[in-house]
Subunit: 330 residues, 2 copies
């Protein structure tokens, strides 16, 4: 697990989150224990659990419950990745083979289901019904967003007026909210619930998570074009390959309405050469800078939301985590 | 929806469960509203929600919460069926086309996930953390049981000693517990929790659900050989076709250790002719009667567990529901 340097003060708690996620060994299902190890070892930067832990510190929430919450959030995230990779037919993630690269689709579906169940059980360990409601609502938002993405896939947006552009941008925002921002918001809001935060601060923490998540996902979408394939562990332009148009491509299309290459890739699927050509064109255009600017605006707003919270080390750390997110390159 | 006649006194509550499951319309996702309607209209006999409602009546549990619980249990059941049908490649269920018969695998996975989320949200509506814990634990049991079924699929059991037989039977029992009895038990136990039942009675209701579920699933497995294809809405011997050996086949194998036909079907997949030949052989043997006897023994035990409950109409109705289960033919 590659940790973020500024998470050092949380190292002990993050270790406990890790242990909680791994759970007990399953002597009856050595395959399941193995697979969980594999999924967690190839895991990300644990930003979501860190957000929950730090947000909870603002209110001295019960550390045990915070650890359950943090583990629940990361487990939910892991479960959705397992199903996403299956659906997209992705064979690599973060430079590691995905579960569906070696397991049957059936076993992969069920492993994802099992992880959903685990994350629900971890949410229940917080002993807080409001947290569990947030958990369930977030899972509904994530799933219905993914479903919409499937229904929208391979469809090409009309950008021929300002109104059409607003609508397309709004649809993009809804999609990244469902995909990413909703879970970031659930992490920070639930931590506030566990800490019995005053209502206005609870809302501020929810907004912080949501806005940071929006920025985070836009950067993800930018790095899908701009990032280093080695570092990302997947080929450039993977969203376009899957028929999904993200913000950099939208900005590019707005500026180059007569360029048909993106439409070709999205509608008919494109060969590797064409995808790389389109990705290069997007990278050379102003689209990338525009997307970065929008991501940084969201992150600046997330930092502004923190002003409603009491000053102190946890608040500064949330601020710094947002700063880190704005500068990430993988 | 075909209701069981003896559920007439519950008609009004079951209607409310139905409404709760349907939930609000999704103007953004007409596809999702349609699909939910389709899944619920082609639905079963609503035995699981009925068990929750009646068990809750023993203790005058809050009707609102019971309805949320009942809806949650049936929604969880529906979600598992969506993923099961996808994994088995089943095109028909209860005489209706399955979701995966017309939708892509990706959309089917996500719809199942969405239904899991809905069932978690409904469980959270009970406002009872213990119920939610039972819900999450049951979902884990179901998923890990299905995973084991996948790992065990196409493997042929050794039955060459009494010890081996006991082990194989035990494994079968674990499988049907995970697949069916665990959710029956969750329905009746959770209702007892909502009614603040005394501990001994809570355990009795859990046992009742579990034992009834064991009997129910054995009958399901018998009907897979013995049932009318028209009534079942699927071809005879569908488990064997999927490489799964159920109780009637196990009894047959115990009595006919030299008959290699089941091994051939399970290991290599069999053509329709061979599966029908094997199913006919099982139906003509004593295996069916032995399996019925075992199912009825479980159901009689479930009825015996009811003795721990206070006498009255709800207890009589649970008894009658068990009686109905023991005589079902579809």
């Amino acid at each position: 697990m590659k940790t973020i340097p500024l998470l050092e003060p949380l190292a002990a708690e993050l270790d406990r989150v890790e242990l909680k996620m791994r759970g007990p060994e399953h002597p009856d299902y050595p395959q399941l224990t193995e697979v969980l190890k594999h999924l967690l070892n190839s895991g990300g930067k644990r930003l979501r659990p860190a957000l929950a832990l730090v947000a909870g510190r603002v209110y001295q929430a019960d550390p045990e419950k915070l650890i359950s919450l943090a583990a629940s959030v990361e487990m939910l995230h892991t479960a959705t990745l397992v199903h996403d990779d299956l659906i997209d037919g992705a064979l690599m993630r973060r430079g590691n083979p995905t579960l569906n690269a070696s397991w049957s689709p059936g076993a992969t579906v069920l492993t994802g289901d099992y992880l959903f169940a685990r994350s629900a059980a971890l949410a229940a360990e917080t002993d807080n019904v409001q947290v569990i409601r947030i958990f369930a609502a977030t899972l509904m938002t994530i799933c219905s967003g993914e479903l919409r993405q499937i229904f929208d896939r391979h469809s090409f947006p009309r950008l021929d007026s300002d109104l059409a552009w607003e609508k397309v941008l709004d649809r993009y925002d809804q999609r990244i909210h469902a995909k990413t921002a909703s879970l970031f918001a659930a992490a920070t809001e639930s931590a506030a619930v566990l800490g019995s935060a005053p209502n206005a601060e609870l809302e501020a923490l929810r907004d912080f998570g949501r806005l940071l998540g929006m920025g985070f996902q836009i950067i993800d979408d930018v790095l899908d074009f701009q990032g280093d394939e080695e570092v990302l562990g997947k080929p450039v332009g993977s969203d376009l390959r899957d028929g999904i148009i993200t913000l950099p491509a939208l900005y590019f299309l707005r500026a180059h309405p007569d360029d048909n290459r993106i439409a070709t890739v999205v509608r008919d699927g494109g060969d590797d050469r064409l995808v790389r050509e389109v990705a290069a064109a997007i990278c050379e255009s102003t689209a990338i800078a525009q997307a970065w600017e929008r991501a940084r605006a969201f992150i600046a707003q997330s930092q502004a939301a923190l002003r409603a919270l009491p000053e102190g080390e946890p608040r500064s750390m949330l601020y710094a985590l947002a700063e880190y997110t704005a500068s990430r390159n993988k």
